[in-house]
């Protein structure tokens, strides 16, 4: 009887043990997240979510892939070579227009992070004042150029009303400091500070104040949404938690980012300012939520530019169906704070 009991116990232990191995193996899904640009403190929410195990809690074994080539990332996600990426909103519309089955599921940046910088002594006070002036853009394509067009549309002026739009590349500071342009389209989290550190005080016209088009967020593809909806929910939940933690404690998020960003110093005031400036672009009372009006505005801008000629079904471009409920994000920003930010 004792022998039989021992035998049964061994069989039971072996069965449970063998069953546990594939279960745990299956639980962790390897995922590569495509990030534009290089490792940078601006990706702090992702680093925080990784460091604090939010992706692992969702059964996701996350690897990051940084690249300057966002178009390549979108193409790979569209063909299901990759499943997720933090991609600019207008890219999703443009890709879908060409038949790419991509869907935006988490709006990370709630405010469009691009603006127009002018010297503090400039007579350009608001967007309509740009008429008759030379405006620099990194290139006459890309999110910055789309942002400029959205701003001009909002101000009721056209590109032809400007004296010139010059493609000046991504190193804006020398061109602005050399006064080769009257105004320049910049990334508001870091470039105004860089320009001021090199030459003179500047004033920033934030495009989001006039035309808050959609910016970076989590993008996936229709195959993943259909076959692995829980994986998508896991990704958005983890990202939301990382974002909430970063908003709640930016200093801790900065310290965590140092593990992921090479040469990020503990006491770099410029990089810390980049993070704190970015917080203002992320704040909301419902992390990840896409405002349909923002998508409509983005589409209208692209259509006005002639980049989108066919009708686009926006309900297929983005989805709020995979977001965690605000209450499901521990440490999320209090409603009052979010209201302040929104206001």
């Amino acid at each position: 009887m004792v022998r039989l009991f021992r035998l049964l116990s061994i069989i039971l232990v072996l069965t449970v043990g063998l069953a546990a191995v594939p279960a745990s193996g299956q639980a962790m899904t390897p995922v590569t997240l495509f990030l534009g640009y290089i490792p940078n403190v601006q990706f702090a929410p992702v680093y925080v979510a990784m460091e604090r195990g939010y992706f692992k809690q969702a059964g996701i074994d996350l690897t990051l892939e940084n690249s300057f080539d966002e178009t390549d990332g979108v193409t790979r996600i569209a063909t299901n070579k990759l499943q997720f990426g933090l991609i600019s909103g207008e890219q999703v519309i443009l890709a879908r227009t060409q038949g790419a089955p991509v869907v935006y599921v988490f709006r990370w940046y709630q405010r469009f992070p691009v603006g127009v910088v002018v010297p503090a002594d400039s007579d350009i006070k608001e967007p309509k004042d740009l008429a008759g002036h030379v405006v620099g853009v990194p290139g006459k394509f890309g999110a910055s150029y789309v942002g400029l067009q959205a701003l001009l549309n909002a101000a009721g002026i056209k590109e032809s009303d400007l004296k010139d739009v010059k493609a000046i590349g991504f190193d804006t500071a020398p061109v602005v400091c050399g006064r080769q342009v009257d105004a320049s389209v910049i990334y508001i989290a870091n470039e105004p500070a860089q320009i001021e550190s090199q030459c003179f005080k500047v004033r920033v016209i934030q495009i989001a104040d006039y035309a808050n088009i959609v910016s970076n967020g989590l993008m996936t593809n229709e195959t993943t949404l259909k076959d692995k909806p829980d994986l998508v929910r896991g990704m958005t939940a983890a990202l939301a938690k990382g974002l909430a933690d970063t908003l709640a404690d930016p200093k801790a998020a900065y310290d965590i980012s140092r593990k992921y960003v090479e040469n990020l110093k503990a006491d770099d005031p410029v990089q810390y300012a980049v993070l704190t400036n970015s917080l203002e672009l992320w704040k909301t009372d419902h992390l990840g939520y896409s405002d349909p009006a923002a998508w409509k505005l983005t589409l209208d801008t692209l259509q006005a530019m002639g980049l989108v000629k066919e009708p686009v079904d926006l309900s297929k471009v983005f989805s709020n169906d995979y977001l965690p409920a605000p209450s499901a994000v521990p440490g999320g920003i209090p409603t009052a704070q979010a209201t302040d930010a929104a206001g």
């Binding site: 178009t71 979108v74 193409t75 569209a78 063909t79 443009l94 890709a95 227009t97 060409q98 038949g99 790419a100 089955p101 620099g136 290139g139 006459k140 394509f141 890309g142 739009v165 010059k166 493609a167 000046i168 590349g169 190193d171 020398p174 061109v175 050399g178 080769q180 980049l307």
Partner: protein
């Protein structure tokens, strides 16, 4: 006196030049066209069942249609014109400077010791690091892109010039000196003709590099040009226009290479005749 020995020098140079190569492929001229047709067929078959994946690779017919559209509405010619101006500017500047400096280095050991390390080191500096400085000084656009182009074509031409000038047969130099040739006569009657085969090698490399270099510049700051067409089309996943830009660039590089080859054939006809 120098004039009289010119012909004999040419004969000597002919003998000093690399041996002529037999070209059996003359009979197989149709082979490149056949390869192109096979590639086209393969491309057509691969994109036949595209299922809306034109954002990855456009089918050949769509590319042909887009080519006609861009040609008809003047867009393609505008971009080709801009790129050609940048190439002309960069090629002239880069090749000109490389030839002058290369000749100096070939003739002067001190100059070689002083400049060569910097010339080689500068070649390793990425253009993206230099571009902002150029833009600051020359502004964005044509001039900066032309200079970027010049920087890229400079080095192969510099090396070709040094090798070409140094490859002159010392016996011929002695002969010229014995005939009391002036430095200018030495330059025009001996060194240039002797160096031409190598110089044309450098020119051919520089020509194709100039096309690629113009695109590099247009990636950094441009409002027009074939590189701009490629990058801006890629941004909107318009792979048809991307391929129109790529094929036009290829055709441009081939045309310029052929032009240099024909000039080479004409200028070095004396060398061919001697074989």
């Amino acid at each position: 006196m120098v004039e009289q020995v010119d012909q004999s020098l040419r004969v000597s140079l002919r003998n000093a030049s690399p041996a002529a190569t037999y070209w059996p492929a003359r009979r197989l001229r149709w082979l490149p066209a056949l390869v192109a047709l096979l590639v086209l067929l393969l491309w057509y078959l691969l994109t036949l069942d595209n299922r809306g994946a034109a954002f990855v690779v456009a089918p050949p017919l769509a590319v042909a249609q887009q080519f006609i559209t861009l040609l008809a509405n003047g867009t393609l010619l505008r971009h080709v014109g801009t790129t050609l101006i940048e190439i002309a500017l960069g090629f002239t500047l880069g090749v000109g400077c490389a030839f002058i400096l290369g000749y100096g280095i070939a003739k002067n050991v001190l100059l070689e010791q002083v400049i060569s390390p910097y010339a080689v080191g500068f070649q390793a500096v990425p253009i993206v690091a230099i571009a902002p400085v150029l833009i600051r000084f020359f502004g964005p656009g044509l001039i900066s892109n032309g200079i970027i182009c010049a920087l890229i074509v400079f080095f192969p031409m510099l090396v070709s010039t040094i090798v070409g000038v140094r490859s002159v047969d010392p016996n011929l130099r002695d002969l010229m000196r014995s005939l009391t040739a002036t430095p200018w006569q030495m330059f025009t009657r001996l060194e240039i003709p002797a160096a031409l085969p190598v110089l044309f090698g450098g020119l051919k490399i520089s020509t194709t590099l100039a096309v690629a270099a113009a695109v590099v510049g247009e990636a950094i700051s441009a409002n027009a040009g074939l590189g701009f067409l490629i990058y801006s089309s890629r941004y909107v996943y318009d792979t048809s226009s991307v391929l129109v830009g790529v094929f036009t660039l290829t055709a441009l590089a081939l045309a310029l290479y052929t032009l240099v080859s024909r000039i080479e054939r004409r200028w070095l006809a004396w060398q061919q005749r001697g074989r």
